[in-house]
């Protein structure tokens, strides 16, 4: 378990990093926290020619509130999300999701951008970015573009990111102060990838749902946006919602798989159940509020 030989570079600006990725022509891999990449390198499942370390680029770090969105630098450590008071107030479900990412030790090093860019379909943060309607800012020598999170993921570990591109920010749009959140995952041990999980936010105006963002993880080749469920929820008053019916709609968008840990049927069965119970519970809370 020693990595195959590679060159190591540590640029200090985004421009420099993009130039290196451009020159490498697909032979480079970006390392941020390394909590997934280092094992892959050691197992020789990943054998880049150049490792581009982006930890020394200041612009990629930190959490800033801007008009209409919160900008999270991709090299922000997961542990820093947990202690950020603004996020706890503005985007509580992001904080809640990060608590389930890996372990105490891996969160000290692991980054928000690393998890989002990797695209593990059972991971918490890609689904959370889809649910909250995040925009992923991507830069290269060709320029900078914004990709909606729900368009970003193509398949397991496959994203819209081109080999010369770097994730330079994740923009989480504002949600109203009184929005309610849902989060539930079923994992065999704390810190494991989910067998099935659901994350989302609901904005309520005048007792009815004005905006809904819900996504599954572990329920398909990518994080899955529960589009039918979202559409059905919009405009409904909280006391008229049938959680089981919404869960059935949410399930209709999924494409779960069999793996060593659980079958697709297990994921469907339990997914529908946790969706309904979690939605039911937060609606009750929402009514009480």
């Amino acid at each position: 378990m020693k990595p195959a030989p590679f060159d190591y570079v540590a640029p200090t600006t985004i421009a420099e990093a993009c130039a290196i990725l451009d020159e490498a022509g697909g032979g480079a891999t970006v390392i941020a926290g390394g909590q997934t990449l280092m094992p892959l390198l050691n197992l020789r499942m990943s054998q880049p020619f150049i490792l581009v370390d982006i930890n020394k680029i200041p612009e990629l770090q930190g959490i800033t509130k801007e008009t209409g969105f919160t900008r999270v630098g991709p090299v922000t450590r997961q542990c820093d999300v947990l202690t950020n008071a603004d996020l706890a107030r503005d985007l509580p479900v992001l904080v809640q999701a990060v608590r389930h990412v890996g372990h105490h030790q891996t969160r000290n090093r692991g980054t928000v951008g690393g998890s989002i860019a990797l695209g593990e379909p059972a991971a918490e943060l890609p689904a959370t970015s889809v649910a909250l309607g995040a925009m992923i800012e991507v830069s290269s020598v060709r320029g900078t573009r914004q990709v909606a999170a729900h368009d970003f993921y193509l398949g397991p570990y496959m994203t819209m990111l081109e080999p010369d591109e770097l994730v330079t920010a994740i923009r989480f749009p504002d949600w109203p102060a009184n929005h309610i959140t849902l989060f539930r995952e079923v994992a065999q041990r704390p810190g494991d990838f989910a067998l099935v999980g659901v994350v989302g936010a609901l904005a309520i105006e005048g007792g009815a749902i004005a905006r809904a963002g819900i996504a599954w993880f572990g329920m398909g080749p990518t994080p899955i946006k529960a589009r039918q469920a979202e559409a059905a929820l919009i405009g409904q008053s909280l006391d008229s919602i049938d959680p089981a019916a919404i869960a059935a709609l949410a399930l209709a968008d999924t494409a779960p798989f069999d793996d060593h840990h659980a079958t697709a049927e297990y994921r469907r069965t339990v997914g529908k159940r946790i969706f309904a119970s979690t939605l039911g519970a937060i609606l009750t809370l929402g009514e009480a509020a």
């Binding site: 378990m1 020789r44 079923v186 297990y266 339990v270």
Partner: protein
Amino acid sequence: MNAPEFGATGIGAARYIGQRVLRKEDPRLLTGRGQFVDDIALPGMLHVAFARSPIARGRILSIDTTAARELEGVHAVFLHADLSKQKIELLSFFLMPIEVPVTLLADGRVAYVGDPIALIIADSRHIAEDAAALVEVEYAEEDPVVTIADARTGAPVHPTTEHNISQEMGDEEIDEDLDAALNGAAHQITHHVTHQRISQSPMETRGVVASRDGPEELTLYITCQSPTNIARWMSMALGLPQTAIRVIAKDVGGSFGLKNTPWKEETATVVAALLYGRPLKWIEDRYENLTAANQAREAEMTLRIGFDKDGKLLASHSDYSSNNGAYPQGADANVAVQMFLWGAYKIPAFGFLTRGWYSNTIGLAAYRGPWAMESLARETALDTAARQMGIDPIELRRRNLLTLKEQPAASVMGLPLEDITPAECLEKLLAYFDVAAFRREQAEARKAGRYLGLGIAAYIEPTGSAGSMPVMTGELAQLRIEPTGQVTALMSTHSQGHGTATTMAQVIADRLGVAYEDVTVFEGDSSRGGFSPGAAGSRQGVIGGGAAIKASDLLASKVKELAAHLLNASPETITITDGMIHVSGAPEMSRSLRSIAEIAYGEPARLPEGFEAGLEAQYRYTPPPMTFTSAAHACTVEVDVDTGFVKILRWISSEDCGTVINPAVVEGQIAGGLAQAIGTVLLEDFHYDARGNPTTVTYKDYLLPQISDIPTFEFVHANTPSQSVGGMRGVGEGGAIIGPPTLVNAITDALAPFGEVPVNLPLTPAKLLSVIEGRDIAGTGAGTAASHAPAPVEVAVAEAPVAAVAAPVPAASTSVDGDWQITMVPPMGPPQEMTAHFATDGTALSGYLESPEGRQEFTGSYDGGKVKFELKVEKPMKITLKYDLTVDGDVISGKVKLGMLGSAKLTGTRIV
């Protein structure tokens, strides 16, 4: 003998024995100053990596090492032909030859994914791995045998064997009387159990640093379970004198059976170091540990039990198979499963068939309680039977467990039982845990849609085995009171976390009358301690403790003799307390041990006539052949019926391991085994795909229990002294044996309203949800019912050769008279060759069997081609061998019943 009183205390008033003293080794280990193999760096040392097979089975067409050898920093690339310049024969833990040829590197064939093909020596491990990736191998791939079902029908894994049975004992056909007893029983149950494959997963993976020091001297730093046993094994395997091999293993990060003996990679590194002449280091990385280190368990059993109308056991039959992989390091047919299956229960009739199968997977090795399948199968079957009969599972055990009052007795397999206490441990458990209160809580919870369950299981565990097999010796304690008055102990024990540096010091301090702080225990170096198999078979506390007591007593006598002489008192009046010598009634004559020791070493003129200078003593203690530990455990769980997840609520161990030297160490042993049990039942599952590719190759997919999966265990101790010196009983493996059925029974009890839970480990959330919802959610093809009906037991073994040569022989020549060459496949070890001579007179038969061990004469009968005779043997135990053979022309075949060991097959041909 009279059975001892249950729970009586062992040694009387003791200052250290029985106390939770702090462990001597912990400050060093907890501050990162342990010395493990990878901490060793020798001058001039080079590093080893292996190129391995990516396919499960095939012929090697070509190997090209050119690119690997040309890489800068690579010193050598060795293949099988290179290493075979050194004589080498791998041996089992019992120092027996392996049944099939095992080469260190592939000899023209590969038999599992990960099979080592080339050994690379390089300046660094990085470079060695780079070179390994450059070794080019062409294969003619073959279809692998992966599962037990594959092994029954697939082509033999090894070209040298006719089938895939690596070992078989017992009767292929169930005995007619036993079958009748089972079929006639008022209540009958047929219970299937499937146990997955386990990766031993020690924190410290395998590893070795081998250094050739001079032409025939070898120093090995190797992570192992006994340095002296490794020296002995290596000496026999390499054909070197044992004195030329020094084995050092100061600290070991867990073994669990995996490190009983070296295997392919460690031995290849040692041989390469001998051939290349530079010190070599190989440290198994975690990927190799999961994909190339020997593994454990993977077995299935069909257990039939018949009960009378009151739930009393009448008869049982067990059919067991294990998937031994390509090169099993042990496990064979695992007859211990059958031996201990009904060890603690009263049952009049029992029969079995037990087999190990070869497959194109990693070989099996021992794992904490290698026979644990017996407790899993029996205790889960009893709970299922109890539900079917409408008897409380505790009551069913009360009716059938052998109590202390009923002993001495013998088990149905002939095990002599004098002081086992599982029934008493169960009662002690029930006095601590309020079953009725739990049942009320369970009933209330069910009304609210919550499913709680209680599991109880009882068992006995063979420990402290000695004297029955060559490697299972006693233990040696060598003690010195140094001139400083402090005590040095060289012990043959060895710790992989067992805390023997603490427990042995407690025993010595207690017995000798010195302060615990003044006793230092050394082990972990074959040049220091005497021979021992080490940490294998839950033996060190029992036997090492006994040796420490006996050596301490010898040394105390010596001190008393000298003190009496110097103080002009009689030895009986001398006592040693806290490192001081006292004369009864004369406090003014008290002396420090140090002052006596200084004289013993430095002033020979003051010693008594004939007194050996110095204060040194040693004792090798051999205990009774086997010491049993007993226990009953209870655990409670809640199963989430929405997700199939299990939460363990409480777990209580009621264990009787005799004298407890240190309760914290004993509880640590039990808790560690239980943690492995929880992993076994809920999480761990080493898996291969249909092509024999391992699919759980990192800890992302091979799930070990985390601390959050382990409850706080509660301990109830009983202390019925054993018959070994000090009264200790072993406790190393019990948690891993009794833990699985305890937890399975709790889960099954919780889900009883939904139906029986098939015992197909691990019990994943998907499998439990299948039971809860009555449909196949787990993809096992099963809903609520067990689907694994045993495959038809069609095994072509001895029949084929019989048929092949039968035809040309005329019927008239079915005389048995003359000499025969006979091969017997015994329960353990390789096939045995012998010559038989028969002479008949009518139906009377006489003759002899001759083997390298000698000649034994017999008389018997010969009738209609049937040859029957009996022989009595003393070794390895007293048994009567009953031969039952059939002559067909020039071929003879049949079996020999080996008493409680079952039976062995014989085939032979006439010597013309």
